[in-house]
């Protein structure tokens, strides 16, 4: 411009000076110089005006209507709308922000189109794609080996202990019951070992045997009476043989015909004798097995019984003296006989064992009434 200040306008350079004038690129003195030149040259005035008319003036009617789009103070604007649209489809905006974005997209069609396009890029899970075999993924917890073994061993141990206890208890109960039965067995008769005596003495001993039998019978009665009394000292007291003899003498005096004593009081009888009803007239114990002669003699005596009495009970009980040593060997037979006698006892209520645990076989009772 400094050059142009010194520049002198003439008919050779007036066009450049006119353009600079209208472009407002000249200083005030230069502008005055141009205006003086146009006045001095009237033929150039029209050209000066034409150049002046080529200038554009701003149209104030044209206004920018989307000024909000350019404002940076809003949540979504020209600089960040794409990010906000992506946040929108990723669902990373709040409900209020979502509404604002939707409103913004509604105002501008280009934004709306872009939002629709972005929504198309959103993938949808394919439900038809599934893991082929889920059973290989399922798992089950396993207990530690030591724990398992312990449980199993305890179970077997418990079973074994329970079985052992039951067996022991059963065996003990069985033994206890058998012992009680043997101990509670009321004496029926006791036969001495006089059967082993020589045959010529048998006839004499028959009377004595019968006497012993009667004595034992009385003794048995006494014993059973004593057992009913609460006095325990009497039970422990050994049987006095003198008393037995006295009882035998008294018995012989009253029954001179050697007939069995008539039982007047039924209540005094042992339990095994009660089946006869009113009373027992005679009771004869005959050892059949070891000496048939004795048995025959007893049988003949039994035939002499006075049948005028109301009831006669004939008991022929051969005895088997089983040694204890043989008990183990004959345990099976003994057990069988014991069971049989139990049934017999229950039916007849007659005891078939003696005081010293001797088994009487073949007992029977006849009611003559």
């Amino acid at each position: 411009m400094s050059k142009k200040e010194n520049m002198i306008i003439n008919r050779h350079n007036y066009e450049e000076c006119f353009i600079l004038y209208w472009d407002n690129e000249l200083t005030a003195s230069q502008k005055q110089a141009v205006e003086n030149f146009v006045k001095e040259n009237a033929d150039l005035q029209e050209e000066f005006k034409l150049l002046g008319e080529t200038r554009f003036t701003p149209d104030n009617n044209i206004q920018f209507e989307e000024k909000e789009f350019l404002l940076n103070n809003s949540f979504i604007n020209i600089t960040n709308y794409e990010d906000q649209l992506l946040n929108y489809i990723d669902d990373e905006v709040t409900a209020d922000q979502r509404k604002e974005i939707e409103k913004f997209a509604g105002q501008y069609s280009s934004v709306k189109q872009e939002l629709a396009l972005l929504q198309k890029t959103k993938l949808q899970p394919e439900a038809e794609v599934v893991f082929p075999d889920k059973s290989v993924l399922y798992r089950r917890e396993e207990k530690p080996d030591s724990y398992r073994v312990r449980v199993i061993s305890m179970t077997w141990f418990r079973v074994a202990v329970a079985a052992a206890i039951i067996l022991i208890a059963g065996f003990a109960t069985f033994k206890l019951v058998n012992t009680n039965k043997n101990g509670d067995t009321p004496p029926v008769a006791k036969i001495n070992n006089s059967q082993d005596q020589p045959s010529e003495k048998k006839a004499d001993s028959l009377i004595s045997t019968e006497k012993d039998t009667k004595a034992d019978l009385v003794k048995g009665d006494e014993k059973s009476t004593k057992e009913q009394t609460p006095d325990k000292t009497d039970n422990k007291k050994p049987i006095d043989k003198n008393e037995d003899q006295k009882a035998l003498i008294a018995y012989q005096r009253e029954n001179k015909n050697n007939l069995p004593e008539e039982r007047k009081n039924v209540n005094e009888q042992p339990d095994n004798m009660k089946t006869t009803g009113d009373g027992i007239i005679a009771e004869v114990t005959v050892p059949l097995k070891k000496d048939t002669r004795i048995a025959q003699a007893n049988q003949s005596e039994a035939n002499d019984v006075d049948f005028s009495k109301s009831v006669v009970t004939l008991t022929t009980i051969p005895t088997l003296d089983i040694p204890e040593a043989d008990e183990k060997e004959k345990g099976g037979i003994k057990e069988f006989l014991r069971k049989t006698t139990r049934v017999f006892e229950r039916r007849t209520r007659i005891q078939t064992t003696t005081d010293d645990n001797k088994l009487l076989v073949g007992a029977f009772a006849v009611s003559l009434k």
């Binding site: 992506l86 990723d90 972005l118 890029t121 993938l123 082929p132 798992r139």
Partner: protein, 161 residues
């Protein structure tokens, strides 16, 4: 995490994680192996896993397992990708789902993972960041770029059609 919770996790999420891995690997056997391994690891560490976070744990383990798998077979994977690209060019896309699958295949592994975790499972940027071991802002940037790429691919294919 109890046995019951683990088995519930199998019932509920096995398909989801399988889809996620299958879309990334595009191989059913590999995807099945990765899912199976992920569940095995989950079972081994079940005492340390909170049942309420079992899904995130499962996807994290599966994602890492998948990355390991991709690294092992990287060459083969790249070869497949090139073939896939060639197919895309020769074959006209006739529906949006197919176009999108093709567009997805063109994304990088990370971008594809982010898009799938977002679109399939609806995870937040923060949750995706935890699964993929990225920051929330990284997830946002990568995911936005991926989305713009998908959009440009759609526009390009539509213009071709």
């Amino acid at each position: 995490m109890t046995e019951k919770e683990y088995n519930e996790c199998v019932t509920t999420y096995a398909d989801n994680v399988y889809r996620f891995i299958l879309k990334n690997l595009r191989n059913e056997e590999d995807a099945r192996d990765v899912v199976q391994t992920a569940y095995e690891k989950m079972w081994i560490h079940r005492d340390e896993v909170d049942a309420s976070k079992s899904k995130s744990y499962l996807f994290t383990v599966a994602y890492r397992q998948m990355i390991d798998h991709i690294r092992k077979v990287k060459r083969i994977q790249l070869k497949d990708e090139f073939n896939e690209g060639a197919k895309v060019q020769n074959k006209p896309a006739n529906n949006l789902k197919k176009i999108l699958d093709e567009a997805l295949a063109r994304l990088s592994e990370t971008q594809r993972t982010l898009v799938l975790l977002k679109d399939y499972e609806g995870y937040s940027y923060e949750e995706i960041g935890k699964i993929t071991n990225l920051s929330e802002s990284q997830v946002k940037v990568y995911l936005h770029r991926a989305r713009v790429q998908l959009k440009e691919y759609l526009v390009k294919v539509e213009n071709v059609i």
